[in-house]
């Protein structure tokens, strides 16, 4: 089973990298960009086919390591 975990900064947490990228996009003349927030994507392969067990394992992975929940949110998507 494959899964994708996306970790993003919580709203209100300063994201200087996102701001710098936003500025670079504007300087390239790409119109219509009002804001950029940078995050992380983890593509994870799991043994077994039990969806509930996979979701539980991924939630534990996010809480224990992949995200720092003081400043970050995470989202888990199972891809069958």
């Amino acid at each position: 089973m494959k899964a994708r975990v996306t970790v993003t900064l919580k709203t209100g947490v300063l994201d200087p990298q996102g701001k710098a990228i936003e500025g670079a996009l504007k300087s390239l003349g790409i119109d219509g960009v009002s804001s950029v927030r940078q995050g992380k994507v983890f593509d994870i392969e799991l043994d077994g086919a039990n969806k509930a067990a996979a979701e539980a394992a991924l939630k534990a992975a996010c809480e224990k390591l992949l995200a720092n929940t003081v400043i970050e949110n995470y989202r888990v998507e199972l891809q069958g």
């Binding site: 300063l14 200087p16 224990k64 720092n68 003081v70 400043i71």
Partner: protein, 231 residues
């Protein structure tokens, strides 16, 4: 004073802090991150500066989950002293020993320069050799030193006197201009509620010899040697 300096893959200030501790008179043991136990009789655990695990994932995140951190948390829970410097501060936060996060410097620049700090209180095991409000001149070298936490945590840190050091100018004024990384309230270091755990971004261990620029860092190691328990 028996100190245990933990070496993680990518630590690079472990030798410097060991030298500072030995200069002050401590017995220093070097401990590997994969070990499960601290040497018997350890008074102080030091999480040194560097770039543990290449700063992968988040600074200090992987080191914060090392086996030795279980023993370090147990040591801290017993009231034992823990000192986290720079990457060690990041590791202490990631390991749950201290609240908050060291985020990317607000201006995105890695800062490596001299920096003045105010000593917020001198009744702790780490600062008794300084005077309250003393301005010390040490080094900083980091790209992720921007201390942030939620408003409730900040209010608790300020209300309970858990801010250890603040970035300031040469006159001791805590200003936005003197803040190298955007940290809330100019915070350069914080204590745990028992004041037995200290995390700070600056490097006192680098200012222990007049030959290399100053000795304002010595006070921290002298304080630790005085045997004062955590305030």
């Amino acid at each position: 004073m028996k100190a245990a300096v933990i070496t993680f893959p990518g630590s690079n200030r472990d030798g410097d802090v060991a030298k500072a501790l030995r200069q002050a008179g401590a017995h220093v043991a070097h401990v590997w991150h994969g070990d499960y136990e601290l040497p018997a009789g350890t008074d102080l655990v030091v999480l040194p500066g560097g770039f543990s695990y290449g700063d992968y994932l988040r600074c200090g995140a992987i080191a914060g989950r090392a086996h030795i951190m279980d023993a370090t948390r147990a040591h801290a829970a017993r009231g034992g002293l823990v000192l986290g410097i720079c990457n060690g501060f990041q590791i202490a936060c990631e390991a749950g020993l201290l609240p908050g996060v060291l985020a990317r410097n607000a201006d995105l620049k890695f800062v490596c320069r001299r920096q003045h700090l105010t000593v917020e209180r001198n009744d702790t095991a780490f600062t008794s050799a300084y005077t309250k409000g003393q301005v010390i001149d040490v080094c900083i070298a980091h790209g992720e030193g921007n201390y942030i936490c939620d408003p409730e945590t900040l209010a608790r840190l300020e209300g309970e006197g858990l801010v250890a050091f603040r970035y300031c100018d040469a006159d001791g004024k805590v200003t936005a201009e003197a803040n190298p990384n955007g940290s809330l309230d100019g915070i350069a270091g914080i204590y745990s509620p028992g004041r037995n755990v200290l995390g700070l971004m600056p490097h006192p261990e680098n200012l222990i010899d007049g030959l290399v620029g100053g000795t304002d860092g010595r006070g921290m190691f002298a304080s630790l040697m005085s045997g004062k328990k955590a305030a």
